[in-house]
């Protein structure tokens, strides 16, 4: 059953990504990204990261993508025109992207044995559930990064306000 879950939502994620690539209007791309994120949330859940699945839905697709949609609509971004782009990007970039993909899959496939298989659901340590485990580590061992990220968010808020202000 996990396989079916993986295939369905994996295909959904892939389809959303390709749609992002092929659509001309940015709003369509943004909404396709939302689809990708939702399917990824399901995949996280199947890998035993329930907290992250929830966070993905709430934070990523619920907040960040909404922000993107807001800005798209604010700026009234329209369809993309066909302008002459950079030849370098096509001639050098595509082989680069293809190369990255091929290299990574080569590594993953050749190490298939070492990578083993996944079990659906909590396999981390059956006594404690995922969110308890995450918070236990987050507030003890990773406390400093946690606090620093809060300052980071503060900085980001201030920066966003300053940058987006109208000139007076």
């Amino acid at each position: 059953m996990q396989l079916a879950l993986f295939i369905v939502f994996g295909a959904l994620a892939l389809g959303g990504a390709l749609n992002l690539l092929l659509q001309r209007h940015p709003i369509h791309s943004a909404l396709s990204l939302v689809v990708v994120m939702m399917s990824l949330a399901v995949l996280y859940w199947s890998l035993g990261a329930e907290f992250l699945a929830a966070a993905q839905v709430i934070v990523y697709s619920g907040a960040i993508m909404v922000l993107f949609v807001f800005v798209i609509m604010l700026l009234n971004a329209g369809k993309e025109e066909h302008t002459q782009g950079s030849r370098v990007a096509y001639s050098v970039g595509f082989p680069g992207a293809a190369a990255i993909f091929c290299l990574l899959s080569f590594v993953f496939l050749s190490e298939r044995g070492a990578l083993q298989s996944s079990n659906i659901g909590g396999d981390l340590s059956s006594a404690v559930d995922n969110i308890a485990q995450v918070s236990a580590t987050l507030f003890t061992r990773q406390l400093l990064p946690f606090e620093v990220t809060s300052i980071l968010i503060l900085v980001a808020i201030v920066g966003a306000v300053v940058l987006a202000r109208r000139e007076q």
């Binding site: 996990q2 396989l3 993986f6 994996g10 892939l14 990504a17 390709l18 992002l20 690539l21 940015p26 791309s29 990204l33 990708v36 994120m37 995949l43 890998l47 035993g48 990261a49 992250l52 993905q56 990523y60 960040i64 993508m65 922000l67 993107f68 800005v71 700026l75 971004a77 993309e80 302008t83 002459q84 950079s86 096509y90 595509f94 680069g96 992207a97 293809a98 990255i100 993909f101 993953f108 496939l109 190490e111 298939r112 990578l115 083993q116 298989s117 996944s118 396999d123 981390l124 340590s125 485990q133 995450v134 580590t137 987050l138 990773q142 900085v155 980001a156 920066g159 966003a160 940058l163």
Partner: protein
């Protein structure tokens, strides 16, 4: 019983599609969106490995990536707003002030 490698290959595919989108698209916001796609692919990789090693630190890292992605999206979009205000265009090819 899905082999972990499948998750990883899926993530690699999403990552390369993100790069391709970055290279093809002309709208600044769409390019930003493709960056988010790449980040998500990386998140998937982390979670898969966290599951494989039975460690939770992989998931912690995903947590932090999300936080940073949020901050980055906020600031980046603010920058795009101010660029739009001055240049009146969202076409990335026309934003080339750094040309030498």
């Amino acid at each position: 019983m899905v082999p972990t490698a499948y998750y990883l290959i899926l993530a690699a595919m999403l990552f390369s599609i993100g790069i391709a989108a970055f290279l093809i698209k002309r709208n600044v916001i769409t390019i930003f969106i493709s960056i988010e796609l790449m980040l998500n692919a990386v998140n998937l990789t982390f979670v898969a490995f966290a599951h494989m090693w039975h460690q939770v630190s992989g998931q912690i890292f995903v947590f932090f990536v999300m936080v940073v992605a949020a901050a980055e999206a906020a600031v980046g979009l603010a920058i795009i707003l101010s660029i739009f205000r001055t240049r009146q265009t969202l076409n990335v090819d026309e934003i080339d002030l750094m040309k030498s």
